[in-house]
């Protein structure tokens, strides 16, 4: 390493630690670090100052919905890592929930090997009035083909401040997806939540659903989500609408 090169890079130490270099400059500086013990030592010497900077901000309480949404995804992924079939944990929880609501669901079984995911629309008796739960019964491909993907939803905090949600996507996009929500307000019997898929410039209705008193619910995205731009939820009159009549309260960009 030449002395000139060292001098030309040495002045970048502070900017590098503060993430103030451009990507190209960062790559060049990191390459320089590989061969320059002087700069490496200087980085090690100054790093405690940079590590202290975030500690200058007093901690505050993060919104509870953040933890709910995060832990929903983490728990689902942990289940999958333990070898449960994709979406099985979720499907089981929904079956348990539905079993509690309607005895007719107690015997529901997971999908058989190779089966295409089927969507079962069930009239569920939910607190506050009759509603429709949409449950995707997960396909079981024997674990081949990798895992599902989970995308966090964006929420309109002015309309539904406590809400959070995520979309569970199968690798096989034709199988659709499952949208899970937490903290959504219950609606009266004249209204319902409606799920939409935004794809190729069209907004296509997917399913209707209600949430329980705990604000939890789930809905199926039944169409192929490949090349879709977003999945959205709006509040609509009971029975659903032909097109969204309001700005989405929750959406997932794909």
């Amino acid at each position: 390493m030449s002395v000139e090169r060292h001098h030309s890079q040495e002045e970048n130490v502070g900017a590098y630690l503060l993430s103030a270099l451009t990507e190209i400059e960062t790559r060049a500086f990191e390459k320089h670090l590989e061969e320059c013990p002087v700069c490496r030592d200087e980085i090690d010497r100054l790093r405690p100052a940079v590590d202290a900077l975030p500690r200058s901000v007093s901690p505050v309480s993060a919104p509870p919905s953040l933890k709910q949404s995060l832990m929903a995804v983490v728990s689902e992924e942990a289940r999958e890592a333990r070898g449960e079939p994709r979406g099985e944990g979720f499907a089981r929880r929904m079956r348990e929930k539905l079993a509690g609501l309607s005895g007719s669901m107690a015997g529901m079984q997971p999908g058989v090997a190779g089966a295409v995911a089927s969507v079962v629309l069930l009239a569920g008796i939910v607190a506050g009035g009759a509603g429709v739960y949409a449950v995707t019964q997960a396909s079981d491909d024997g674990g081949s083909g990798g895992g599902s993907r989970i995308v966090a939803a964006k929420v309109d905090k002015t309309e539904v401040p406590l809400a959070s949600g995520s979309l569970v996507l199968s690798d096989r996009t034709k199988d659709g997806a499952v949208l899970r929500v937490h903290g959504l307000p219950t609606l009266d019997s004249k209204s319902t939540y409606q799920v939409w898929l935004h794809r190729d410039g069209e907004v296509i209705s997917q399913s209707l659903f209600s949430v329980g008193e705990d604000g939890e619910g789930a809905a199926a995205v039944t169409d192929d989500v490949e090349n879709a731009q977003a999945v959205m939820i709006t509040r609509e009159p009971a029975g659903g609408a032909r097109a969204p009549s309001e700005k989405p309260v929750l959406s997932v960009r794909l």
């Binding site: 451009t22 200058s56 993060a62 983490v74």
Partner: protein, 176 residues
């Protein structure tokens, strides 16, 4: 942390409980917008969960690792220009806007630590504090800072380095 690395969601929940507030506060301090700060915190913690095997205890504390990831995510958001003018919003009063957690000894210690680091930062010459804050919390590059402050890039880089050096010495003296 060992249990988190083994994929235990309950252990991860504890890690979130311990560092979630500081992470959200840092993200909010940087982007000045609650919804974006939530998104950044969520993305950062999901990334931590998914890359948990990569944590190396000998490279620093869990808190430093977590806050470093949050910082990088916030920088990405700022540079993708997701927050526009909101980035200039001040974090003053954040503690009043979001209810402070119960004053446990740990929280009290962290508030004290925050005061000490802020005091050390404010103790630097103004021009050094300014470049450090614009870079670290504002997500601006050295050339953007040079343009804003109308000074040569070399001067900006020099002040960053001098400021960090002085801050390190000041914090070491407090800790001693």
């Amino acid at each position: 942390m060992h249990l988190v690395q083994e994929g235990d969601p309950a252990a991860f929940e504890q890690l979130y409980d311990r560092h979630g507030g500081a992470s959200f506060a840092l993200a909010y301090r940087m982007v000045g917008d609650r919804v974006t700060a939530e998104d950044i915190s969520q993305e950062a913690f999901l990334s931590i969960w998914r890359s948990r095997a990569r944590y190396q205890a000998d490279r620093g504390s869990v808190r430093t690792w977590v806050l470093g990831i949050v910082h990088h995510r916030a920088i990405d958001a700022l540079r993708r220009n997701l927050v526009h003018e909101k980035r200039r919003s001040s974090a003053d009063g954040i503690e009043e806007r979001f209810e402070a957690p119960e004053s446990t000894p740990v929280e009290a210690g962290r508030r004290e630590e925050a005061r000490a680091v802020r005091a050390a930062l404010e103790d630097l010459p103004d021009e050094q504090t300014r470049v450090i804050e614009l870079a670290y919390f504002g997500g601006f590059s050295h050339s953007q800072i040079a343009e804003m402050l109308q000074m040569p890039i070399g001067t900006v880089k020099g002040r960053m380095r001098l400021g960090l050096d002085k801050l390190r010495r000041s914090l070491a003296a407090v800790a001693a």
